[in-house]
């Protein structure tokens, strides 16, 4: 059975939305995705979401009575997991059409969950006592070891932000669109050495939703799910197996490429969740697009920028487009737009797009291989 994304949409706006609640963002995205799919809520019999307020409340608020629910919450990669799980559920006959929603008042914190973990949790005992202050001090911890082992110069770390701003420059919805230089990045204030402000993602409000179903139920040009993979590493960054490579990136990527029966040469477009500037570097290497220690130069040479041979994070990414907290939904949305030929910074002739999402820093990852045609 061929599984497709039959509807995809974001909230009307992303960015600073202080008059939208978390719940409101979920529901607006859901309505937009249903309209995009040419469906109504009565077509939906499966629901997946993560975070606040959860799948039961979203289903109930929409007036959907789901036969299948998935609340898998493994961070910003959760939506990629949901797509993969929905495909399995539909193939198993558990449900027919799944709505996946994301809404997060990440910046304005309206109706949002509280941050924080108990002092008796793994994080509370073995990381919080050392003054960690969220992802800027956790996700970033691996970078100096990577730089030492591979010789990545700091200027090439900064090039990641520069390259992505070139895409954001072409996207009127991006929060930051003005072109920047390596010097601008290195002159921005230090957040957590070696990371400067412009090497850290945005914090925004927004949402997105997807409709996953079998090909025969799609009512518009479908985006095919050719393959997927999911994997986990350590729940806390200090216990990550190797700070210079992500096991979860590698394993989820291998699984997705194998199921899709594609090679790297087949990939026209790539999305790698970019919470911080080093993450696309790990993504390019761990997915096998370049060799170890080569990603920094690859990006600096312009291969991922507009006109390059491997367009990467073409919406501007979490660094320049938007980052609500769980960005994975927006990476999928951009891949769908590119495959439909509807992107703001459209790459000509995209037929195969790969999306890599990480969650809970490097704790989890999932990879999707999407295409606008069957092989």
């Amino acid at each position: 059975m061929n599984i497709v994304i039959a509807g995809a949409a974001e909230t009307d706006e992303v960015g600073r939305l202080p008059y939208h609640s978390t719940m409101g963002l979920h529901l607006e995205a859901a309505r937009n995705a249903l309209a995009d799919a040419g469906m109504t809520k009565d077509d939906i019999d499966g629901l997946a979401t993560v975070g606040t307020p959860g799948p039961v409340q979203i289903a109930h608020a929409l007036g959907v009575t789901p036969a299948w629910l998935d609340g898998t919450g493994v961070g910003g990669s959760s939506f990629l997991f949901h797509v993969r799980h929905a495909a399995a559920a539909i193939r198993a006959g558990l449900c027919r059409t799944v709505l996946i929603t994301h809404g997060e008042s990440g910046r304005s914190r309206v109706g949002a969950a509280r941050f924080g973990m108990g002092a008796d949790s793994l994080l509370g005992q073995f990381e919080l006592p050392y003054g960690v202050a969220g992802p800027p001090t956790l996700f970033t911890l691996t970078a100096l070891r990577y730089m030492k082992e591979t010789g990545l110069p700091h200027e090439q770390l900064a090039e990641v932000a520069v390259a992505q701003r070139r895409w954001a420059h072409l996207n009127p919805r991006a929060m930051y669109q003005e072109l920047i230089t390596v010097e601008d990045v290195l002159a921005s204030r230090l957040v957590a050495y070696p990371f400067h402000l412009l090497e850290c993602c945005l914090v925004t409000d927004g949402g997105g939703a997807l409709i996953v179903t079998s090909e025969d139920r799609a009512r518009r040009d479908p985006v095919h799910l050719l393959g997927s993979g999911e994997a986990a590493d350590s729940p806390i960054i200090s216990q990550m197996e190797d700070f210079t490579t992500s096991k979860a990136f590698r394993l989820s990527g291998e699984s997705a490429f194998a199921e899709a029966k594609i090679s790297h040469e087949d990939v026209d477009h790539l999305m790698v969740y970019d919470a911080f500037a080093h993450v696309p570097i790990y993504g390019l290497e761990d997915l096998g697009f370049v060799g170890r220690g080569e990603a920094g130069a690859f990006i600096a040479e312009g291969h991922t920028s507009p006109g390059g041979r491997l367009p990467l994070n073409t919406n501007g990414g979490g660094l320049s487009y938007t980052h609500t907290g769980m960005y994975g939904m927006f990476a999928i949305q951009e891949a769908v737009r590119q495959l439909r030929g509807e992107a703001a910074a459209q790459v000509p002739g995209v037929e195969v797009s790969v999306v890599l999402g990480n969650g809970g820093m490097f704790a989890t990852a999932a990879t999707l291989v999407l295409s606008n045609r069957l092989p």
Partner: protein
């Protein structure tokens, strides 16, 4: 007030150790490997035949950040180093680097460290300091290659 960890039954022996001035970690009797964080079975071979042992307290600097936006309780510290260190026994743990001015020049990766303990409420937290207390002036010369690329100087 800096965050105070709250022990659980699985982690209590670790925190009992720090209170006694010892860094205690677990070792598997079946495969002879050490592991951290505390848990009831060996993550390497799956054996439940595990014991608590006293670690040497010696470590090297694996990676770190210098945080410029302090967490609650750290406001008076100035920029501070959140680090992951690798113990001589092969396991890694998060900590802070103390006993040295926190600037990249003083913190080359693989720097030799030793454990010290800081009282925090009823709990003692393991921190690490350079084995040879060294300021920027009397720090032994290191070859440029060992520090140059891994620790580019402050650029912001």
């Amino acid at each position: 007030m800096k965050p105070v960890p709250k022990p659980t039954p699985e982690t209590q022996p670790f925190w009992d150790g720090t209170a006694a001035g010892e860094l205690r970690i677990q070792r598997c009797r079946a495969c002879a490997r050490h592991y951290f964080y505390p848990r009831p079975g060996c993550p390497h071979c799956g054996s439940a035949d595990v014991e608590w042992v006293r670690a040497s307290g010696r470590a090297t600097l694996y990676s770190y950040v210098i945080n410029h936006r302090p967490a609650p309780g750290f406001e008076d510290d100035g920029p501070y180093a959140i680090a992951v260190v690798e113990l001589a026994e092969g396991v890694r743990m998060m900590t802070n680097i103390v006993g040295v001015e926190v600037v990249p020049e003083n913190l080359p990766l693989d720097l030799s460290l030793r454990v010290v303990f800081e009282r925090r409420g009823d709990v003692h937290v393991p921190l690490f300091e350079p084995t040879e207390a060294a300021g920027p002036r009397d720090r032994p010369e290191r070859p440029a290659e060992a520090t140059g690329r891994s620790n580019p100087g402050p650029t912001g």
